[in-house]
């Protein structure tokens, strides 16, 4: 590695468990190569903490290439950082200045309880998905290609909605900790396609009901979620969910 070397002050949220109150702790990280990723920088800090006999900072991560949705925390007040359309694992240290102070916090939402430090429990999203985020499909012999024709605009819009990785940045950035962008995307990706029609009404009602039961807030239409989404998912998906929900309330028999 041949990058510039920088030093930073990190203020990190430390919390032992879900029951612990938690507090900010300050760490100095020195001589960081600016070609490192942000998570690699935290790996370096954690190695130093382990060497000193302290507990390393807990944070979620998996693929480290922005596609799995595992990582995510708030850096200086922005979910996944102030850079547009990236997850925290895609963030590089060259985006920061030498001597900068960074505040690292977990997603803050009642529905996302902190498990430890920067790691939160996002199983509320799994339960919303389980409530209706699936389709009934023919599982017998292989279906002929192109037997179901889908208009290009619908296919594109469904795909855009389906790029949601469920990281939770929408909830984290919303002032009401609302999950509407996530649920809107999940409802939309199926509502737009022929395969999603079987459970269409039942799906939106079940997913919204689950979302409400999990304790997420309501949408105030400030679109912070869209600005924070690493996949650039549009709030038009929330509007589609609103339409689907209204239609389902009128037409669904179940």
């Amino acid at each position: 590695m041949s990058g510039k070397r920088i030093s930073l002050t990190l203020k990190v949220w430390r919390q032992e468990s879900a029951k612990d109150a938690g507090k900010m702790a300050t760490y100095e990280v020195k001589d960081i190569n600016d070609e490192m990723s942000f998570l690699e920088m935290l790996d370096v800090l954690n190695e130093q903490l382990v060497t000193k006999g302290e507990r390393p900072i807990t944070f979620d991560h998996d693929c480290r290439e922005g596609i799995c949705g595992a990582c995510g925390f708030v850096i200086n007040g922005h979910a996944h950082s102030k850079e547009k359309e990236i997850t925290v694992c895609q963030l590089h240290m060259r985006k920061f200045q030498d001597g900068e102070t960074l505040v690292l916090e977990p997603w803050r939402a009642k529905a996302f309880p902190v498990l430890q430090d920067l790691m939160v429990d996002r199983s509320a999203f799994d339960r919303i998905q389980a409530a209706g985020g699936y389709t009934s499909v023919h599982t017998g012999s292989a279906v002929d290609a192109n037997s179901i024709l889908i208009p290009k605009v619908d296919a594109d819009a469904a795909f855009d909605a389906a790029t949601c990785i469920g990281c939770g940045a929408c909830v984290a950035s919303c002032k009401n900790a609302s999950a509407m962008l996530f649920v809107g995307a999940k409802v939309s990706q199926f509502a737009l396609l022929p395969q999603g029609q079987v459970e269409r009404e039942r799906r939106v009602k079940a997913m919204v009901e689950r979302m409400d039961a999990e304790g997420f807030g309501n949408c105030t239409n400030e679109y912070e979620c869209e600005a924070a989404c690493p996949k650039g998912i549009s709030v038009t998906n929330i509007a589609r969910m609103n339409r689907e929900f209204l239609k389902a309330a009128v037409t669904d028999q179940g």
């Binding site: 922005h78 609302s178 409400d212 807030g217 239409n221 912070e224 309330a249």
Partner: protein
Amino acid sequence: MSNGTGKFLSSSLGKKFVMGLTGFLLVAFMIVHLLENLSLYVDVDHGSAFIAWVEKLHLLGPFIWVLEFGLALLFGVHVWMALKLTAENRAARPTPYVMKKTFGESTLASRNMFVTGVLILGGLILHLIHFRFSKGLHAPAPADLFARVREVLANPIWAGFYVVFGILVGIHVSHGFRSAFQSFGANHPRINCCVRRCSVALGVILALGFASFPIMALISWR
């Protein structure tokens, strides 16, 4: 109320829908109210056009009570939904961020909907005491109402109060109007730009419109 309707109204999306719908109807009322008030400019000293308009309203007889009840119901539902939604939103984030920044479309108006809403409600109560209930439960006679308008607005303190009241209404509507479109699911590139501009324009028109009467009063009636 069927079970389905109850479920819709108790859901997060249903509540936002009701919020938007009642807000829309209240905006429609305020536009009519503003148009009515504009009649004050026709005959500033004697208010003949204003009195004529109010006399026409009195011709509605008992039906005016139905309209007043409907209007009170709209306000009541709007306020009730606001309280419920705000309480839920506060509960959804029990631990605040140490540092939080916005970079979406958050505005002064959108961030303070609850604050402006509470202030407008307080202002509305005073407004009703000033004019609607100035003679007790029954609405004052048209000429008495005009005299009361002159008396209240000629007072610089109340004139200032009504200027602020008008501006608060404008700020509240400038976010509420466009927000309601999204709550109804009306989000499309073809209309979004127009909705945003209309929302701001409506807020400015209501603010300037309502604030203009106390200013006129200070100039003409003192």
